[in-house]
């Protein structure tokens, strides 16, 4: 736990470093007079048509969902691979073949999920 406390402390210092930099620069920097052009969103020097906060294609979000599934699944894999070597190299009740089979089942489930979404055309970027 101590190591994570250190990390928390590091994050705090890091954010301070970055945020402090931005704050310092804001005090130091120039300011040109305000005008409507200046604060307009840059769209190749033209007036933007419509709002920039548009409803967006669902394909991006599908990838986000996929990521969620696969990332979490691969995290479930984590304990498995973590002890894999220890178990495999030590004489335990589990036979190496069984271990490998277990890993294969895990990977296979993930892979079949991938195959399913592939087949479903989720991976096709429209």
């Amino acid at each position: 736990m101590a190591s994570y406390t250190i990390i928390g402390f590091a994050i705090f210092l890091g954010a301070l470093f970055v945020g402090g930099g931005i704050l310092a620069s804001m005090l130091l920097a120039f300011r040109t007079p305000h005008c409507s052009n200046k604060v307009q969103a840059y769209e190749c020097a033209e007036d933007p048509v419509g709002d920039a906060r548009i409803r967006f294609k669902v394909s991006y979000y599908l990838f986000a969902l996929l990521f969620l599934i696969f990332d979490i699944e691969s995290l479930f894999l984590f304990p498995c691979v973590k002890i894999f070597r220890t178990v495999a190299t030590q004489a335990t009740a589990l036979s190496p073949t069984f271990l490998l089979g277990e890993l294969s089942v895990f990977v296979f489930i993930l892979f079949s999920g991938l195959l399913y979404v592939w087949k479903k055309g989720v991976l096709r970027w429209e």
């Binding site: 804001m26 005090l27 920097a29 120039f30 300011r31 040109t32 052009n37 020097a45 033209e46």
Partner: protein, 412 residues
């Protein structure tokens, strides 16, 4: 202007430091470093409109390599740029966008006007109805680099000059945003009048610059310079004969006359095949058709198996002061011959059927004619101005177009 736009800390720190012993020196040192950093880290905006942009790219290329000056981080967005190199002509439509770009750049920002067009309009100073006579009519320019276009070395020299200028910045000479001049054309008429009046004055007045006493060598007995001896004698050369592959004018005209007997040869007294033959092989077959047969004729030319003119070169118009003439220029991509089909229009209410059902490419050509001549095309799918802003007054390619607020006329 000036100090108000400098950051709070930048404003107050010198005030605190300066009274301290050695404080002024410290502030000087800081200022030196900041100015040095600014001078050596000029990130240009990727901005180029015409020829000068090519030389700007050359400057960035391996041979000249403006990266040596730290300039290679060219940014596509003005938010991260420090420098805008006005490379190329600025026209009225782009002018307002240029001002936007400039205003969207964070300060301190610098401008280099590269080439004649960006300095003064260059080759388009006179007679142009759309070119802005110099970038400094819109935004403050720091360095002017003459040339058309300037060599890459000239641009590098200009950048070095700008660096010199930046290095002098400090609290005594802070960077200031210049005034934006929103009158792109100024008052060209009175300006031109003034220039030429001045010129006229100095033309008539005895030059005060050089009296004969000052330049003694221009004595009255000095012989007049002789004309350069004509060392180069150029012979008269016969023209190469035309290559034979194309269909000759007589055949084409005979074929057309067969189907459109009312076709006439423009500017010719006779309208016969013999007349075409007499005009020789280099003659551009220039036909006039009545308005009601115009589209029909073009369609015939396109679909005729013999002529097979499947390529529309351009559609344009000529202002004849009493009438407009619309010209459709067709080419046979297979056989190489081309024909001009001409049609006279009433100048008051010029309207002609569009060729767009026959050639998709005609859409833009006709929009151009609509824009520059004000000729309307019936059943055109998208008749809008092509080049000029919608609120541009008049149609510039008409002979009677005159807009003293935009056009500077040549005095001779």
């Amino acid at each position: 202007m000036g100090m108000r736009h400098i950051g709070y800390a930048t404003r107050t720190i010198p005030k605190f430091l300066e009274p301290l012993p050695g404080g002024a020196k410290t502030v000087d040192a800081i200022e030196f470093v900041v100015a040095w950093a600014r001078a050596n880290s000029l990130w240009p905006l990727i901005y180029g409109t015409a020829c000068c942009a090519m030389e700007m790219m050359s400057t960035g290329s391996s041979r000249h390599d403006w990266a040596r000056f730290g300039v290679e981080v060219a940014r596509a967005t003005p938010r991260q740029a420090d420098l805008i190199v006005l490379a190329g002509t600025i026209v009225e439509k782009m002018g307002s966008r240029l001002v936007t770009l400039y205003e969207q750049m964070p300060g301190p920002k610098y401008v280099i006007a590269m080439g004649s067009c960006a300095i003064s309009g260059g080759p388009f100073y006179y007679d142009s109805y759309s070119v802005i006579k110099g970038g400094d009519r819109l935004i403050p320019v720091d360095v002017y680099i003459p040339g058309c276009p300037p060599r890459p070395e000239a641009l590098l020299y200009g950048i070095m000059q700008l660096q010199e200028k930046i290095r002098t910045e400090g609290r005594r000479n802070p960077w200031k945003i210049g005034t934006l001049n929103q009158t792109p054309f100024g008052d060209p008429l009175s300006e031109a009048k003034k220039v030429w009046a001045d010129l006229e004055k100095s033309r008539t007045a005895p030059s005060p610059a050089i009296s004969d006493a000052d330049s003694g060598n221009i004595a009255t007995d000095r012989p007049k310079p002789i004309k350069r001896p004509a060392t180069e004698q150029f012979p008269e050369v016969a023209r190469n004969p035309l290559s034979a592959s194309r269909l000759d004018n007589e055949t084409i005209f005979a074929c057309i006359l067969e189907n459109f007997p009312e076709t006439t040869l423009t500017r010719q007294s006779e309208h016969t095949v013999e007349q075409v033959r007499a005009l020789g092989p280099e003659y551009l077959l220039d036909l006039t058709v009545p308005l009601h047969r115009y589209v029909e004729m073009v369609a015939f030319l396109k679909n005729s198996a013999l002529l097979d003119m499947n390529f529309l070169l351009h559609v344009t118009a000529v202002d004849r002061l009493d009438r407009f003439e619309v010209l459709a220029h067709l080419l046979s991509a297979d056989r190489g011959h081309n024909i001009l089909v001409r049609c006279a229009l009433d100048r008051q209410y010029p309207e002609i059927p569009s060729l767009s059902p026959l050639f998709a490419g005609a859409i833009w050509h006709e929009r151009e004619v609509f824009d520059l001549f004000g000729i309307r095309f019936s059943n055109h799918p998208d008749l809008r101005r092509l080049f000029l802003e919608d609120n541009f007054p008049g149609h510039p390619l008409r002979k009677d177009f005159d807009d003293p607020s935009r056009v500077v006329r040549r005095p001779y």
